[in-house]
C-alpha cells in the first residue's frame, strides 16, 4: 500500500512532516503515521509560546490502543496551534497533510534531522519489511 508523501515537504524518522517557509514552519504527522495509529481519538498540543529543541516531544496523539509522542523536526517556538484538531482528532486520519496540521512555529537556529520525500518513502518501505 502506497502512503501519500507530498514532494514539497520534509520528514523525520519519527514520522512528522514539516513545511518550512522562510523562518516559519508548519508541522504535522505523515499518512503512514496516521495509518499506523488507527482511529485517532485524542490529540495533545502545546501552548502558544512554548519552545522546544529539535527532537524534543511537543505533544501526543492517541488512538484506542496506544499513545504516541510527537517530536519536533527542528527547534522552534509555537506560534499557532490547530485547535480544530484538538476538537476533532479524526481529521488527522482523513487529512494529515492539510486540515490535520498540528502547529505553526517560528524556526530557531539549530540542526534538525530531516529527510526528503523520496528518502522518507524509502525509509517507510524499509520499516514495513
Amino acid at each position: 500500500m502506497a502512503f501519500k508523501t507530498p514532494a514539497e515537504l520534509q520528514y523525520t524518522r519519527s514520522h512528522e512532516w514539516i513545511r518550512i517557509e522562510g523562518e516559519e514552519a508548519t508541522v504535522g504527522i505523515t499518512d503512514y503515521a496516521q495509518d499506523s495509529l488507527g482511529d485517532v481519538v485524542y490529540v495533545e498540543l502545546p501552548e502558544v509560546g512554548a519552545s522546544f529543541e529539535a527532537g524534543e516531544s511537543f505533544g501526543a496523539v492517541e488512538s484506542v490502543k496506544a499513545a504516541s509522542d510527537l517530536y519536533m523536526p527542528v527547534a522552534g517556538e509555537v506560534v499557532t496551534v490547530n485547535q480544530t484538531l484538538v476538537d476533532k482528532p479524526e481529521i488527522l486520519n482523513s487529512d494529515p497533510y492539510g486540515e490535520g496540521w498540528m502547529i505553526k512555529i517560528s524556526v530557531a537556529p539549530g540542526v534538525g534531522a530531516l529527510m526528503s520525500a523520496a528518502a522518507y518513502e524509502k525509509y517507510v518501505d524499509e520499516i514495513k519489511h
Partner: protein
C-alpha cells in the same frame, strides 16, 4: 541479527496475512491486532458479529478417576457444581493467595477440558503437574493440536445455526456440546466468550481451522460478520470489566482485591490457597480494583500512576482506553479500598500531569448474555 526464538503461529496465520491483518506479538505468538480497525471491529461485535482466532490459548485435557478431585484441589471454584455439558470460570491460586491464572473448565463426556491464557500455558501446565501427586489423573496438553475460534455478537447464534444441524440456538449460556460443523468438521461448541455479548467458542483440530474460518465468514457475510483482532478483543472485554491476566490479575494480586471473590468457593473444602484466602476474606483487603471515568481531558492507560488529590501515589491503572461503545475515557485500577467506592476522586498521571478521575459503577457495559 537473528531472534533467539521465533514467534509461534496459529493455523490461521497465513489467512490473517492474506486478509490484510496487522500482525503483532502477543504472549510469544504472532497474532492479528486488527483488520478493518479496532473501533470498526468492536462495533461489529456489539451490533452484528465478529470472528476471532483464539488458537493461541492453551488447552489441557484432565481425565481419569480423580479428575474432579484434582481440579477441586487446584481451582478456587466448586468444580463439582459444573455438571456434564457445563462450563465455568475459575482461578488457580498460589498457597499465599496470589493468582496463577484465570481459566475456564469444561465438563465434557470423556473428561474435563481446561482452557488457559496463551501467555501462561507453559506456567499453568507445569503448575498442574506440580500439584498432581496422589491423584489418579492423566493430563494432556493438547494446545498444539487444538484450534479455537470465537464467534461473538447478537447475530452469532443465527450464523452458527447455519453452520451446523446441532441445536446451538438452544444451547444455554455456559453450556457446551459437540457438533458437526460445516457438514464434516467435528467440533466442541461452548456458549462462552470474552466480549460481554452472546456468542460461542469453537474447538476444532488444527487441520480444520482454515476451512471453519472461511466457512463462517462466508455464512455470516450478509449479517455483517467481520474478522476481529486482539485490539477489539481487548476493548470488548474491557467494557464489561472482564479481567486480563497481567493487568487486573497477577501473581501478586488476590481474588478479593480483584473483585473476583465470587469465583472463590471457600465452603467447598480445602484447595491450594484456601487457608490464605479464608484469612484474606476475613481481614479484608488494603487495595481494591475500581472502575473510573476521566473527569478532565485525558486518557488513562495501563501502567499509569494514580495519585490522591493530595499528590501522594496511591495506586496504578491496570487497563484504560477510550471506550468505543460508552464514548468516554474509562479505566480500571488498584486504589486503597476506602477510595474504591462510587464517587471517589483521584488523579491519573498522564504524561507527568495529574488528570482528575472519578470512580463509577462497574461493569461499564452490562453484558447481554443469553441466559
Amino acid at each position: 541479527m537473528t531472534s533467539s526464538q521465533a514467534l509461534r503461529r496459529t493455523p490461521l496465520h497465513d489467512r490473517h496475512v492474506q486478509m490484510g491483518a496487522r500482525m503483532v506479538e502477543f504472549g510469544g505468538w504472532e497474532m492479528p491486532v486488527q483488520y478493518s480497525g479496532i473501533v470498526d471491529e468492536h462495533n461489529a461485535v456489539r451490533n452484528a458479529a465478529g470472528l476471532f482466532d483464539i488458537s493461541h490459548m492453551g488447552e489441557v485435557e484432565v481425565k481419569g478417576k480423580d479428575a474432579l478431585a484434582f481440579l477441586q484441589h487446584i481451582a478456587t471454584y466448586n468444580v463439582a457444581s459444573i455438571g456434564e455439558g457445563h462450563a465455568n470460570y475459575a482461578l488457580l491460586c498460589q498457597p499465599a493467595g496470589g493468582i496463577v491464572d484465570d481459566i475456564f473448565i469444561y465438563n465434557l463426556p470423556d473428561g474435563y477440558l481446561v482452557v488457559v491464557n496463551a501467555s501462561n500455558t507453559e506456567k499453568d501446565f507445569a503448575w498442574l503437574l506440580d500439584n498432581l501427586a496422589g491423584f489418579d489423573v492423566v493430563l494432556t496438553n493438547i494446545s498444539d493440536q487444538a484450534s479455537m475460534l470465537a464467534l461473538q455478537g447478537p447475530m452469532a447464534e443465527s450464523i452458527l445455526a447455519h453452520a451446523t444441524d446441532a441445536d446451538v440456538a438452544n444451547l444455554p449460556f455456559h453450556c457446551v456440546m459437540t457438533a458437526m460443523l460445516l457438514d464434516d468438521i467435528p467440533g466442541i461448541v461452548a456458549r462462552t466468550g470474552y466480549t460481554g455479548e452472546d456468542g460461542f467458542e469453537l474447538f476444532v483440530d488444527d487441520d480444520n481451522a482454515e476451512r471453519l474460518w472461511d466457512g463462517l465468514l462466508a455464512l455470516g457475510k450478509d449479517d455483517g460478520l467481520k474478522p476481529c483482532g486482539l485490539g477489539a478483543r481487548d476493548s470488548l472485554r474491557f467494557e464489561p470489566c472482564l479481567a486480563l491476566y497481567g493487568h487486573e490479575i497477577d501473581e501478586d494480586i488476590n481474588p478479593y482485591e480483584a473483585k473476583l471473590g465470587w469465583v472463590v468457593k471457600l465452603d467447598k473444602g480445602d484447595f491450594v490457597g484456601s487457608d490464605a484466602l479464608r484469612r484474606i476474606k476475613q481481614e479484608g483487603v488494603q487495595r481494591k480494583l475500581a472502575g473510573f471515568e476521566m473527569v478532565e481531558r485525558g486518557i488513562a492507560r495501563g501502567g499509569y500512576d494514580i495519585r490522591g488529590v493530595d499528590g501522594e501515589r496511591i495506586g496504578y491503572v491496570t487497563t484504560g482506553m477510550p471506550s468505543p461503545t460508552l464514548g468516554k475515557n474509562l479505566g480500571l485500577g488498584y486504589v486503597p479500598t476506602a477510595l474504591a467506592t462510587e464517587g471517589s476522586e483521584f488523579n491519573v498521571i498522564v504524561r507527568d500531569k495529574p488528570v482528575r478521575a472519578r470512580v463509577v459503577k462497574t461493569p461499564f457495559y452490562k453484558p447481554r448474555y443469553k441466559k
